[in-house]
């Protein structure tokens, strides 16, 4: 093992890791709340809202993320009339694609969490006089998050790995730099280093979520 070779690799790979982390944070922060909005639509009394949400989840969960990214980045600009307003920079296109894709998954996870809450919780809130908003924010959502947390952890770990799809829309990230290094120096070490970086990120993430789960235990 040549450590000076690895330390020479590190600056570019870490630069890629910054991009990866940036995308991860933006996507988590946007898709978690957007997913909840879609869950509310899935359960809405207004039928058209329900239909829209169902179609949304159906399409985004049923087609490859890579196709969705390609469609947003390469496809949208060719749409007639509105296409010229839909030309995005590659990173922006990726953010849009990831957010709407992950929101669909989170919506389904939340829905499962809501189903797990007994009817008696709503009834207790009602007879105590809590309004719908108070019931949702104080009683239902905290219990839903508790139920959903392990699945959210899973999805987040998948998201860290999925960031490598940035490669396909030409945003330089870890994998891009690793591949460039491997080819230019005919040495596969960079792939191993990239793998370690992903592992470290996911280990930290999992620890963080475990801590959160512990905190929410009751």
């Amino acid at each position: 093992m040549d450590f000076s070779y690895i330390s020479n690799l590190m600056p570019t790979l870490l630069e890629g890791a910054v991009t990866t982390t940036g995308l991860f944070l933006i996507v988590i922060l946007c898709s978690l709340p957007l997913g909840f909005l879609i869950t509310l639509m899935l359960r809405s009394k207004i039928a058209p809202l329900r239909w829209i949400a169902n179609v949304y989840v159906y399409i985004l969960r049923g087609t490859p993320l890579l196709l969705q990214l390609f469609f947003i980045y390469f496809g949208l600009p060719y749409l007639p009339v509105i296409g010229k307003y839909l030309v995005f920079e590659s990173f922006t296109a990726a953010v849009i694609g990831f957010v709407i894709n992950y929101a669909a998954y989170f919506a389904e996870i939340y829905r499962g969490g809501l189903i797990a809450i007994p009817k008696g919780q709503y009834e207790a809130a009602k007879v105590l006089g809590l309004n719908k908003f108070q019931t949702m924010t104080r009683i239902i959502v905290p219990q839903m998050v508790r139920v959903a947390l392990p699945s959210i952890t899973n999805e987040s770990v998948t998201l860290v790995k999925d960031t490598s799809l940035l490669y396909a829309v030409a945003v330089p990230e870890i994998l891009h730099y690793a591949k460039a290094a491997v080819i230019s120096s005919a040495n596969p070490t960079a792939f191993a280093v990239a793998a370690v970086i992903y592992l470290v990120m996911n280990t930290l993430l999992t620890l963080l979520f475990k801590k959160l789960e512990k905190k929410m235990e009751y």
């Binding site: 009834e123 809130a125 007879v127 105590l128 905290p142 009751y218």
Partner: protein, 248 residues
Amino acid sequence: MSLIEVKGLKKNFGKLQVLKNVDFEVNQGDVVAVIGSSGSGKSTMLRCLIHLETVDGGTILVDGQPLVKDGKYPENSKIKKITSNMGMVFQQFNLFPHMTVKDNLIMPAQSVQKMTKDAALNRAKMLLQKVGMGEKLEEHPNNLSGGQQQRVAIARALMMNPQIMLFDEPTSALDPELTGEVLATMKQLASEHMTMVVVTHEMSFARDVATKVIFMDDGVILEEGSPEEIFSNPKNQRTRDFLKTVLR
């Protein structure tokens, strides 16, 4: 004047008539025990009183105010005002599991009644003391026995200062050795002249604590009267049959 007045109450679940023309009255300070076999409509009747079920016909007056009149409900704010006169205790306790005992009591008081935190906490402590749970302020419900949870649930309902307490089979989910502590708490409430409507299978409570017993069967009230009348001298054959099976 009676505190609750129910006239011609009807409720269907689909094609099934669960309540067919139920009439009764509850006076200030009454402890009404509602007895009858499962499926007789007694829980549904209780749930109608606090608007957990919407009726299909009839009138419910609470302290003279119509919760529903001839099957027609007033606007939501009015319904809410009327039902806020009542507290409810459920078979499954329905405490909020993610909150401590203390927060189960003070959160609704702060959110709904806009009580200050100090006032709510003082009242919570007083009520938990009263139900014998003064030591469990910081516990989560899952760490309590069923009997303890139910006593906390009673204290939580009392937080809102209701005029009437409704109990929906409060001891049915409890192990037999835990029913006593809950019944004792209810007995204490009765001795303080709280107006109570209790759907129950505890015949000892109906006989010893209630001031009035209602026997329901197949969606109607078949017989009502003082505990002595119902238990010693039931007039209806169905009442006699029912009592024979449960008192055996």
